[in-house]
Symmetry: C2
Subunit: 152 residues, 2 copies
Amino acid sequence: MDTRVTDPDGDAPAAKGRVPAAKREALAAKGEAFTEDCAPRRVLELFSAKWTSHVLHAMQALYGGTCRPGALQRALPGLSKKMLTQTLRELERDGLVAREVHHVVPPRVDYSLTPLGRTMIEPIEMLYAWARDHEAELSALGLRAPSRRRKA
Amino acid sequence: MDTRVTDPDGDAPAAKGRVPAAKREALAAKGEAFTEDCAPRRVLELFSAKWTSHVLHAMQALYGGTCRPGALQRALPGLSKKMLTQTLRELERDGLVAREVHHVVPPRVDYSLTPLGRTMIEPIEMLYAWARDHEAELSALGLRAPSRRRKA
DNA sequence: CAGTATCCAGGCGGATACTG
DNA sequence: CAGTATCCGCCTGGATACTG
């Protein structure tokens, strides 16, 4: 059955960088616009997932690109050791941060942003900048309530 | 890029790239760097949470800022009706999208990006751009596995 | 200090059914 | 078509304890 909606389309205000009508129709119809395995989906997953952004941001903004796990945890209240490790592992897997172990008596480990990781800082900073710039507008609306609320 | 930290009080780090050593130490020590209720945390929460980015992106890129829920769902394979509604509700609450109901026989609703919502498109596009630009570098590493895997 | 392993509650989110 | 409500599996993520 043709589930295609009436699609008035009369509204479609020609935007700048959007997909041409014909093209997007094809995309939407075929459902190929944002398949599970497209780059954006995967990256947004990485991004959206957990503490990735915060960890990367803290590493760069607070410590200039290199720091020890303890420092990160102290800088990010609420981030448990478990999540910190997990996040760092993921970032390491993806080549965004590098892990350097110093075999000394009190174990010491340094994590640093890789070149690739550094490139990701820009988008992240955009988000932080946006957050700061529109904080008032968001707060004015009552702000987050139903979403990911956690007990404590 | 000024990766200055959240700036709790009125500190004015003339630093170009980062917080002065002394200051950041204080921040980290006091744990005031990224408190639960700072703007970035809240926004990243909104961002990171679910399908927000994808919905906003699809609305803008595919439909120029306005579209019907059905269209979004078709454009985003994997997005259930439940999540779609929930996401739209949140975005509406935060004033990023506007909901317009047309009381006709087959119910028709249009969602559009608000001015505020439109401003959020930029950061989102940055992410998408980054994703595309570094897709190869990420894939080369084996890419996501342990994270949010889902059965199907 | 850095990291792992285990236990376990809570929520996230899918499937389904139903209303307007 | 748009939206809500319910049921429920599963994964996320905190707490705790233990190793090096």
